[in-house]
């Protein structure tokens, strides 16, 4: 039973949170938390640093915004279209990127995502600098009226929990164990007979589909898909969120996303300084707190309780 205590408390908190906190802020944080979870699936559990995840986040946002606004699809179909688009992009970009490792993988994903950015800049349906604005919040499944922020919040929370559940199941499955084996020692995983490339590609595609789900949901919440979503700065932001929260921890990306989104909200009036402060946090975390907030807490926890009988929400 004990292992359910923390999740139940967290979900209860999430259910009552809009009574205290502005729902739009919570929805933004949840979208980015899902985005960071998707990113962390790759860096934290396969050891692949993607510097191009904005392409999937923003690509899905564009497709969802376009299908809902121009084609008049309902939001759930629009989100599905966005996720499928991100998945398809993930298959192509992933198949290319996994041909190299480490630093090259990061550079390749960055370069290919820049190509998606240039496409979004030039294509007609994305409306260039304006983006796709005023995406209508049509009823979901015909009866959920998401034009109300509070209703939409619970929809976003459900989507987030669905994404979280997928990530959690993935990393605690035999498939996830193989991914961790690849992260720890790729040549050994190969020699044990695992088709490493296929595992990496599957993890990559799963990650891009979830990043797409985050971006698609974001475009419904903010009724907007714009170039900001596909820019490399966005890829950098998701790296920052995951790093601040803790690479390779289950809750790290969520904590990191809330910290970074909170910071952006409070510092929004200072303009360029937000970027400078984000850079400073990057440097500080890389130099001093490589385990991130959740990673440090877990390390502290383990030091105080050397052998817990029941590990609450294991980190990996």
């Amino acid at each position: 039973m004990q292992r359910y205590v923390i999740p139940i408390i967290l979900i209860a908190l999430a259910l009552v949170a809009p009574a205290v906190v502005y729902p739009v802020f919570l929805m933004k944080a949840l979208c980015f938390a899902l985005f960071a979870l998707a990113f962390n699936l790759l860096i934290g559990y396969v050891g692949l640093l993607s510097f191009g995840h904005a392409a999937f986040f923003g690509g899905a946002a564009y497709i969802t915004a376009h299908t809902v606004k121009v084609l008049g699809w309902s939001p759930e179909l629009g989100i599905l279209a966005g996720v499928l688009a991100a998945t398809a992009m993930g298959v192509v970009i992933g198949a290319l990127a996994i041909r190299r490792q480490g630093i090259y993988f990061a550079m390749i994903t960055l370069a290919l995502s820049q190509m998606v950015y240039f496409y979004a800049l030039q294509a007609k349906f994305t409306h260039g600098e304006d983006g796709i604005q005023a995406v209508p919040r049509l009823p979901m499944f015909g009866f959920i009226h998401i034009h109300n922020d509070l209703t939409l919040y619970y929809v976003v929370l459900a989507i987030f929990l669905f994404g979280f559940w997928i990530v959690y199941r993935t990393i605690h499955s035999p498939f996830g164990q193989v991914l961790k084996a690849i992260r720890e020692n790729e040549p050994r995983a190969i020699s044990l007979g695992y088709n490493v490339e296929r595992y990496k590609l599957l993890a990559f595609v799963l990650s891009t589909a979830l990043a797409g789900l985050a971006g698609a949901t974001k475009s419904i919440v903010f009724q907007l898909a714009s170039l900001t979503d596909v820019q490399w700065q966005m890829s950098g932001e998701v790296v920052l969120m995951t790093l601040v929260g803790g690479l390779g921890t289950v809750f790290g990306p969520v904590v990191g996303a809330f910290v970074v989104v909170t910071m952006q909200t409070y510092l929004a009036e200072y303009g360029e300084w937000v970027q400078v402060i984000q850079g400073v946090i990057f440097v500080i975390v890389v130099l001093l707190f490589r385990r991130g907030i959740v990673g440090e807490i877990l390390a502290l926890w383990r030091r105080q309780r050397p052998a817990p009988a029941v590990a609450p929400a294991p980190a990996e």
Partner: protein, 293 residues
Amino acid sequence: MSTLFGVSTQALFGQLLLGLINGSFYAMLSLGLAVIFGMLNVINFTHGAQFMMGAFVAWMILNWFGLPYWAALVIAPIVIAAVGIVLERLFLRRLYHLDHLYGLLLTFGIAIIIEGLFRYQFGSSGQAYDNPIPGGQNLGFMFLPYYRGWVVAVSLAVCLGTWYVIERTKLGSYLRAATENPALVQAFGINVPRMIMLTYGFGVGLAALAGVLAAPMQNVSALMGTNLIVVVFAVVVIGGMGSIMGSIVTGFALGIVEGFTKVFYPEASNSVIFVIMAIVLLIKPAGLFGTAR
């Protein structure tokens, strides 16, 4: 007017020259990245920001101190190299024992700090920098602005000079040895940490020199480096970082390919290098001049 492949030769060679100019920058920047990666095992994400700072230092010493372009050509790389050496000593050095990815993340953080500070100070729109060698020469088949010819010449000279030093001199042999096996080279009494520090300074200085060369041709702006560096990363993936000459050749060649694309299919000119990268990854994943590592 004479034509070639259905395009006027003036336009064709004009774009070719522009491509060669871009290629000069790709070559200088990817060379710097390759040299730094060889010694430090760090992909220097700050490279674009250092390129931009080089251009800004040139602009500052012209507008604040009244020193001409020719002085900037010497002073800016030295200033930026010095700043780079401080970065290396204070921060980068602490990460050598970790996964390479942390070096990338650290330099990314530094890059966005620098870019943010320059945007805060100077805005996103550019500052003009006067062309130090105005005018040009009509060669019959094309018009050659003197300054563009100068940029290509300087870049070629610097790249080949670097290649010569690394591949053909005693100092270069120490450097190559330290790239292969730093512990052994250190055991022979060579100060490897200092060599690493100076290598970083040199690579960064190259980026700053490229920035000074670029200043009179485009507006000096805070954003000039970041978009360029993403393309240079693709260039590095295509060439592979194993070979100095490989970086130089790939850089120039891709610039020229990009120039041709601008003539024949302008819509693709932004992405042609990325497409080539995808093709190279399919055919020869280690890069044209790379060895798998």
